[in-house]
């Protein structure tokens, strides 16, 4: 199995944390600055994908295990739906911003938009987990089709 070079590994280990932090920032401040759940979720997923490309599948699976990623995928979508249903139950309409209606905070603060940050977090979890799963599964298929154990982007003869 061909290893990625030491430079790539070291730099990616330094950078992954910052990418993850930036993704969290984009998600949490999505209602104040540019960004939001979709963009932040893709950035979070790209942090895991970078880890997978540089260190191999096993290392990435240590930080986000497969049996954890699959429930996250469903839980994010479900949490978003539940937040919508909460508006139906308490406010009378689907997706009523019940928390903001009850406790209107002052503008430009982090906790003033009611369910919007919560929705952002739910969407981010969903997008992150699902994109990570897809790229992971693409690499798994490569093992099955090629019969080798190669699982990063370095080229390998098919069959």
């Amino acid at each position: 199995m061909k290893e990625t070079s030491t430079i790539v590994k070291t730099i990616s280990r330094c950078v992954v944390g910052f990418i993850f932090l930036y993704g969290l920032y984009i998600v949490c401040y999505g209602h104040l600055t540019p960004g939001g759940g979709f963009t932040g979720g893709v950035i979070l997923a790209s942090a895991f994908v970078l880890e997978m490309l540089a260190w191999g599948k096993e290392e990435a699976l240590k930080s986000l295990p497969f049996r954890l990623a699959k429930p996250f995928d469903s839980a994010g979508a479900l949490a978003f739906l539940v937040l919508g249903l909460l508006g139906l139950l308490l406010g009378g309409d689907f997706f009523v911003n019940v928390i903001q209606k009850a406790y209107p905070g002052k503008p430009f603060s982090l906790f003033n938009a009611g369910i919007i940050p919560l929705c952002n977090i739910a969407i981010a979890i969903k997008v992150c987990a699902s994109l990570f799963l897809v790229i992971l599964v693409l690499s798994v298929l490569r093992v099955a089709a090629g019969g080798g154990t190669e699982d990063d982007l370095t080229t390998q003869e098919e069959e």
Binding site: T33, P34, G36, F38, T39, G41, V42, P107, F108, V127, S130, L131, V134, L138, L141, A145
Partner: protein, 116 residues
């Protein structure tokens, strides 16, 4: 002028999707079409010398903000559409890889016979 260039991009993608034989090339053409449509939708909402639809702390939302900002509605729709396009691209690649697994090629003229 700008609309026309955008449509030209869409036509290039459409031409590729109609004429290419390679499955991956067809997927790439669909991606080009997606980029063209997204750009067009954002263009429809643009206002000359407009500001981004984000309320600044200095100018609390008022009539000056509402009459000076670009249209937020297409932006919201395009933002989701971009991520959706990534998911759909993954689905297309999955189908293509499954076809490759069965037939051993990406050439769509070779993929004729129905095999299990």
């Amino acid at each position: 002028m700008h609309y026309f260039l955008c449509l030209l991009l869409l036509m290039v993608g459409l031409f590729g999707a109609l004429t290419q034989k390679n499955l991956i090339k067809i997927i790439l053409s669909v991606a080009i079409i997606e980029h063209a449509v997204n750009t067009f939708l954002i263009m429809v909402g643009y206002r000359h010398d407009g500001t981004a639809p984000i309320v600044d702390r200095a100018q609390v939302a008022g009539s000056s903000f509402a009459s000076g900002a670009v249209d937020p509605l297409p932006q919201a729709m395009v933002l989701t559409a971009i991520v959706i396009s990534l998911g759909v691209l993954a689905l297309m690649v999955a189908v293509a890889m499954r076809l490759y697994h069965t037939y051993g090629t990406y050439d769509i003229t070779e993929i004729r016979k129905l095999r299990g």
